[in-house]
Symmetry: C2
Subunit: 243 residues, 2 copies
């Protein structure tokens, strides 16, 4: 057990949880190193939601609320870290939830779907088809889910798939701690924040935002500003963290 007063409690619990889910086959080994990369960038962000990221989260909820067919795309790391938070967001945003894996096997799809179901998430099921212009298994998605969606929230997405979805004319919202990544740069809206901090904020805004404000916010996405803000914040931490 990690003592709850440990200064690195939150980070250590997340790491331990991912290692446990990796042993169960829910998180891929590559997912563990991806998480480590996120931890490093979060460290440089000061491990807190910046004012800029909070505004991005507000716009994200506006986009979800105003969407015709919103979908949340969930991978192994997201399911392991945030199944309960996805359930809350699904309730408030009325989005469909689809499991979509980089390292896709039938067994992992099942395990992750079961984990989400156990936390009260309603997961889209059906026959996945090769509907995205990508090589390999990353082309798979559901016709009624991601393929039909106009707005997709894809936390921790890979760069190729993000670009492919954008190329299909979809609004892609991503949560990515690396403001330099291809995903961060190609999404319609990038939230540079840690997953389990970002999701509850988006959910809260879904309850608070009125229709008019949501419509206004959803047409004024200030794209790159959030990336520039995050880079600036990281430079500040590098300059002053230890002074």
């Amino acid at each position: 057990m990690i003592p709850s007063d440990h200064p690195r409690y939150r980070s250590l619990v997340a790491r331990e949880r991912l290692a446990r889910y990796a042993a169960e086959g829910i998180v891929s080994l590559e997912g563990l190193s991806a998480h480590g990369r996120g931890e490093a960038f979060d460290y440089l962000l000061g491990e807190k939601t910046t004012e800029s990221a909070l505004f991005a989260e507000k716009i994200a909820s506006a986009l979800l609320l105003c969407a015709k067919s919103p979908v949340i795309s969930v991978n192994g790391n997201t399911a392991a870290l945030a199944a309960d938070l996805i359930k809350d967001l699904q309730e408030k945003s009325r989005a469909r939830v689809e499991v979509n894996l980089f390292h896709r096997t039938g067994e992992r799809m099942e395990k992750i779907t079961r984990l989400l179901n156990d936390h009260g998430v309603r997961v889209e099921t059906g026959n996945a088809e090769r509907l995205l212009p990508l090589s390999h298994d990353r082309a798979f998605c559901l016709r009624s889910g991601i393929f039909a969606a106009d707005v997709i929230l894809v936390p921790l997405e890979d760069g190729d798939r993000c670009q492919a979805l954008r190329g299909m004319g979809k609004t892609v919202i991503t949560i990515d701690l690396n403001p330099l990544s291809r995903t961060a740069r190609s999404a319609s809206l990038t939230i540079v924040d840690e997953l389990t901090r970002a999701l509850p904020n988006i959910t809260s805004f879904c309850s608070i935002l009125g229709r008019q404000e949501a419509e206004l916010l959803s047409i004024t996405v200030p794209g790159n500003r959030f990336l520039a803000d995050a880079r600036e914040q990281m430079k500040q931490v590098l300059s002053h963290a230890l002074d």
Copy 2:
């Protein structure tokens, strides 16, 4: 197979190799996320050896050459990524090599020792004793190895152990991509560079450096300068990477 002309070839090969060694029980699951953190910082470093880091590597070899009893402390990630490079460095520096693990089990100690032996590394063996002022199994080391050493090269060390070794009056050289980490800040000399780039450089300097120059360099370690240089380089990458 990862194509050798892939722009991320080096990084992808390292990641794949670590995942494979994790499946074999040589690399710990925590070691995978630690590697991910390193990857993120290396990305911000531009994934190259800076002039400043190269100078730190020169000083490291001077410290090893002038030591009475130099030891290289090897963990799972280091063995997985650089067994052959450790062999070369051992040859040129005449340092002892001791396996020292954060997640220590008899089985992992054996597997890692065998991996190193297979690559021609001569590994110190014997009865490890609780000789370091640390709780848990991290206190273990060999009386003839780390305990007796005056200079220790510990790539990818944890912060507590680094501080404990310093407290025992030892000169600790670490290779750590995170210039903000406790290890980086508490070592006698921190090389902010990627392991498989740093080790061959240290080995080369061991061949090149004359006795007089080595002695001069070994008494003029400019401690924190290397950390400040690395932080500055990362700020530059954050400012200009995408411009």
